[in-house]
Amino acid sequence: MNTIGFVAICVVLAFAIGFAVAAIIWLLCWLMQPKDQRVKLFGFLKVFKSNKQSDLSETV
């Protein structure tokens, strides 16, 4: 393997591991938030949840 190939692999691995680290940090912070704030972080889930509930109520 030439040096540029080696460096290219290192760059890809560094970015992959770096962003995996960032994702883990974000997940840890999210998991340790109080539950009410967790929902705010995932605002789109709340919308989805409310739609689903209304659909169910209509069915019932």
Binding site: T3, C10, G18
Partner: protein, 406 residues
């Protein structure tokens, strides 16, 4: 009996100086002058006094205190870094006064780990944890020199091991350079570490000019848009982060395990509020290690060692690595600047170069000169702390992958 006594044997520092060939004489005198200059610059606070005063004095002293040894060769009573034979090393431990510190703390990386513990204790990781993706993105761009120098050094005829060791200077993290070069380049780890610590001053002196060169005044003064909701990071979250990261990174790169443990144990004891240990690490351990590291680095700047023909390319590549990393950090800042609709200050990118907290301070100072109301320090510190982690990741990659290839 007095017949053998002449000026050169009575005052051996001067005697060995004038007995040397011109190159050695000029190098010794040059290093004495450079050492005194470092002390002066440290005293004037142009460079970091904590490191530069003992380092400068050590450099001046060792090049003055060369004497004739019992075997007739020139030497000193401080340290011999080139000893590998166990018997000779054991003898030397009883003769050279700094040999025990060099052998038992420097050449096995212990002093680097102690300093890393100190860095861990000083780090508040909440700046990074609030915006992890942004911080890591900037830090990865600010590692450009760490990557780019490897093929450049190889093209100059250096081995992959030596190329990777000198490239680590681009991470601007002294203990990491010491650790990498100790693992990969045992013959060159002394000059590479000296160069790394000498050049760390470049971030203070050179980066402000790089910022002015690459970022126009109207962009430099931008106050970054505050996030709509600032996440509060608790001590428990920071402790959990340190524990999880340490275990994951050690699972990935056991070779760099000592460095990872040292950094994260520092963060862990800080967040667990173990005050006596925190006080010990950030006081006697950090200051003591920095003092002995500075003194040893100066003492190791002996003319015979510096005259190694491999040192000149290292001097050029080291400064180039730091320069490319600075440029890379600013490019990363510009990418976020355009992605955010020109609401982000690209100067923050240079703080991704992990010289904690110097580059963050340099970035804030450069911004304050244009717009005193603009506060970028929290974001800059986030990128700065991420820089330590990305440099540790790259160290792990290099010390794991290169021995497999060579």
């Amino acid at each position: 009996m007095m017949g053998n006594l002449n000026f050169g044997t009575l005052f051996q520092g001067l005697g060995t100086l004038f007995d040397s060939d011109t190159t050695l004489l000029v190098t010794r005198v040059g290093l004495i002058v450079l050492g005194l200059l470092l002390v002066y610059l440290g005293y004037k606070k142009v460079l970091d006094a904590l490191l530069m005063v003992p380092m400068g004095l050590g450099m001046a002293t060792i090049n003055a205190a060369i004497m004739i040894m019992p075997d007739g060769k020139q030497g000193n009573l401080f340290v011999d870094p080139l000893l590998t034979d166990t018997d000779a090393l054991f003898n030397m431990l009883q003769i050279d006064w700094l040999q025990p510190i060099y052998t038992f703390t420097f050449s096995n990386g212990l002093i680097a780990c102690f300093i890393f513990m100190g860095i861990g204790v000083l780090l508040d990781v909440s700046y990074m944890m609030r915006r992890p993706f942004l911080s890591i993105f900037l830090a990865l761009f600010a590692e450009m020199g760490t990557f780019a120098i490897v093929p450049i050094a190889s093209a100059m005829g250096m081995s992959l091991n030596d190329s990777a060791s000198i490239a680590m200077v681009g991470g601007a993290d002294g203990p990491m350079v010491l650790f990498t070069s100790m693992v990969l380049s045992k013959d060159l780890f002394v000059p590479i570490t000296i160069i790394a610590y000498l050049y760390l001053g470049f971030t203070y002196g050179g980066y402000p000019y790089l910022i002015k060169l690459m970022v126009p005044k109207h962009i430099r003064g931008i106050q970054p848009q505050k996030p709509k909701k600032v996440m509060q990071i608790t001590a428990g979250q920071k402790l959990l982060f340190a524990v999880v990261m340490c275990v994951i990174l050690c699972l990935l790169f056991p070779v760099a395990g000592p460095l990872f443990f040292s950094l994260f144990v520092g963060i862990a004891v800080r967040e667990a509020e173990i005050t006596p240990i925190v006080d010990f690490i950030k006081g006697p351990l950090l200051y003591g290690s920095t003092f002995f590291l500075g003194s040893l680095l100066g003492i190791l700047c002996e003319a015979h060692l510096i005259l190694n023909p491999k040192v000149l390319p290292l001097l050029i590549l080291g400064i180039l690595a730091l320069l490319i990393s600075g440029v890379g950090g600013l490019i990363g800042g510009y990418i976020i600047y355009f992605l955010s609709g020109k609401k982000f200050n690209p100067v923050i990118g240079i703080a991704g170069v992990s010289c904690v907290p110097s580059t963050a301070k340099v970035a804030q100072k450069a911004v304050s000169e244009v717009n005193p109301q603009a506060i970028i320090l929290p974001d800059a510190l986030g990128a700065n702390i991420s820089g330590v982690i990305t440099t540790a990741i790259i160290t792990g990659l290099y010390v794991t992958l290169i021995p497999m290839l060579t």
